[in-house]
């Protein structure tokens, strides 16, 4: 019964996805004539050739990978370090720190002051501008904290009796038991960084440092123009085809899509079986 429900869900999802794949390998003329409904028409790899030949593609792929990996690492490390103390119920500064963090979730100074801070730190045009500001987000801290809190205190207390300091407890006991959490948050963090175009947009001048997400944004112009003349001008400067859009989207999706299957092995239950006796 459940399998049937899930099967329906899978079909509902696969159909549009395969449609997009078909678009990317069909002849552009056939696509614009509306002949492609599900299967490719006049199979061609020209669109992919066009997309993959763009000189900026290779470097932007590498940039995206660098940002995603370093950003995820720093996010997981820093968020965890921030969240663990908040999950220790006896921590004296627990409540004030939580409130300090919650405030940042809703209030921010805005683009301009943040930009000035980054500028004054000399981070413009560097990796740090991309990964540092978002390294510790309130939302993530709360999620980590929730997970850490669910680990039985008995485990922690037995380590304290054995003479372990806080950092050692964190490293040797809490983290190994938090594999599903780390896996999930790494995935979310990596995906977020991979798709993120906003920080690279405003902090990077040197476009050899552009990530893929920004490159893709150049392929689609989506604007309201205040006068017809501007519209006319832009019309003659750009030709947007649907097949290119589909192909570029798929080319960008592929690497990050492949991360999840690797992480799925961490989602097995029974991680804590046998860790607490009596």
């Amino acid at each position: 019964m459940i399998c049937i429900i899930l099967l329906i869900i899978v079909v509902l999802i696969l159909y549009p996805l395969l449609y997009i794949v078909s678009l990317s390998v069909s002849d552009p003329g056939a696509v614009s004539r509306g002949e492609v409904t599900f299967l490719p028409v006049d199979f061609t790899l020209d669109t992919y050739k066009y997309v993959l030949q763009d000189s900026r593609l290779g470097s932007s792929y590498i940039n995206s990978i660098v940002y995603a990996v370093t950003g995820t690492l720093s996010s997981v490390v820093f968020t965890g370090l921030m969240a663990y103390p908040l999950s220790v119920s006896s921590f004296s500064l627990k409540k004030p720190l939580t409130i300090i963090i919650m405030i940042t979730m809703y209030f921010s100074g805005g683009m301009i002051p943040t930009y000035m801070v980054i500028k004054n730190l000399g981070f413009i045009d560097t990796l740090w501008a991309i990964i540092m500001p978002g390294a510790v987000s309130a939302y993530n801290v709360i999620i980590y904290r929730t997970f850490f809190s669910s680990i039985p205190t008995a485990l922690r207390e037995s380590a304290v009796i054995d003479g372990a300091g806080h950092l050692k407890i964190y490293y040797k006991i809490i983290l190994p038991l938090s594999k599903p959490l780390i896996a999930t948050m790494s995935l979310f963090s990596a995906v977020g960084l991979w798709n993120n175009y906003f920080e690279p947009l405003i902090y990077l001048n040197d476009y050899s440092k552009q990530p893929l997400s920004l490159l893709l944004r150049q392929m689609v112009i989506q604007l309201e123009f205040s006068n017809q003349n501007m519209k006319d001008l832009v019309q003659s400067l750009t030709v947007n085809t649907r097949t290119i859009r589909a192909a570029t989207m798929l080319a960008a999706m592929l690497p990050i899509m492949c991360v999840y299957p690797f992480l799925q092995k961490y989602f097995t239950s029974g991680m804590m079986l046998g860790s607490v006796k009596g």
């Binding site: 947009l201 001048n205 150049q218 123009f225 006068n227 750009t238």
Partner: protein, 550 residues
Amino acid sequence: MKNRIKRITSLLLAIIMIVSLAACNGSNKEDTNSKKQDPGTESSIQEVTNTIEDEENSAVPITFPLDEQITITAIVRDFNRDRTKYIDKLFEQYTNIKIEWTIVPVTDYNTVLNLRLNSGEFPDLIQINKNTVNTFADQGLFVNLADYLDQMPNLQKWIDKIPSIYNDSVTEEGDMYSITTFNTRGQVPRQPIYREDLFKAEGLEAPATIDELYNSLVILKEKYPNSLPIINRWGSGNLIGHVANLYHTKAGIYLDNDTLEYTYGQVTDNFKAAIATLQKFYVAGLIDPEFATISDEQFFERILNGTALYMFAEYTNRMNTESQGDWNGNGKINNPAFNLEVMKPVDTEIGNGLLSVQYPTSRGGFTIAVNSKSAYINEIVALLDYQYTDEIIELVNWGLEGETFKVVDGEKQWLIDAEERKNLGLDSRSGMWVAIDQDCFDSTLDPIDLKTVRTSNANLTNYAFYEPKKTLSFTAEELDRISQVMTPIDTFYSEQIISFITGKLNMESDWDDFIRTITDMGYQEILDLYREKYNNLPEEQKGLDMSIGL
């Protein structure tokens, strides 16, 4: 114990203070946007001497290529290409100026530019628009190019040919903080397009009046019940705009072609007539029910699979030119008789049908400005002027004679194909928005489309809906006030008008209430503002711009 707490606390405080000081100092720091060498006292003296010299010999022109290479920074929209192509390198050679480009996706350009401007730091040379320039002008952020006009003979030549370049760039006080970008001439890119083969099959000629159009489409709709005779893209505003033009009006505040007064279109009788016509067509099933919502893809599909029979105004170069979509070519694949053709706008009881034309300038929508704190103002001004010379325009649009094009009987012809042109960067985008050669663009068109646009251009006086000679300038406060008053009015109007078109609201009984509501919302204040500004213009800037630089 106490000491440890104190020590660590003070250390923390110190760190916080240092970092905040660094951040707050930002607004006082000097901008370092031109990549000059470290200015020791010697070179500063050198600079000063140079300036004095320049002032004394203000007549000494800067020639290109420069003796010493300089590096400047610039920010541009990307339009999907980098700046490392062959033509870009040639451009650098010709000028001996190395430009460090910041390239921003078109969709986000204004976000990034506004952020840079508001943070007080931006490159030497920027693409911007007139409204933003006016917002910042009184703060001295941009160079007043009016002071340098006598050093820009090539720009002067273009201004003589196309006066609106000057008119649209200059403020009421005669200051010019940015130059509007332009093509070498305007054109009539859009015209009504119809399925000539289907009309002919029913023995119908291209309709000359709106009533003939109605009757023809009724006949065709009967024969082809599944067709959507009139289709439209880019939302309801587009369709309304085209039909309103036929009735000598348009939505919003504009300069009326007949009365030469600024008018708010929605409240005129002509506009009411236009909407009544649209309602008549819609209720008869002659307009695509999804006219307000379809995407570009759906639009093209409906043309190519034969559902659509008529468009009020579409780009004529899409009909046969491969790079622009080749509608006829694609349509013929499944239907050999498929044939789209151009016709002139239909006439109405108001007079002959008008349609909007493409002016050579962007009318302030895209402009170029120079950072007043730049270290190379004279060079940059000279560079801008150099961009208006025939050599550079030819270089950026056509390339090199003998290499990329040849001249046959006074006409330029390509020696390379489209693919090669793209690889070399021959797409008119090198430099800082060098004037786009309209003839060059036309040369890429299919001969039929070329003939179409040339005929349209030649006949434009019959049906052009003209723009004013000068696009009005507004200060930041005025723009805010306009937003505040007009955004709710536009929201209300655009919602209600759809109900009128679809027939939900009645033209006779509901229209007057509609107008009354709009009037109560206070458009008159903004209209008066426009009128006042227009009346204060010098005589030579008043009136319609009837030349499009042809």
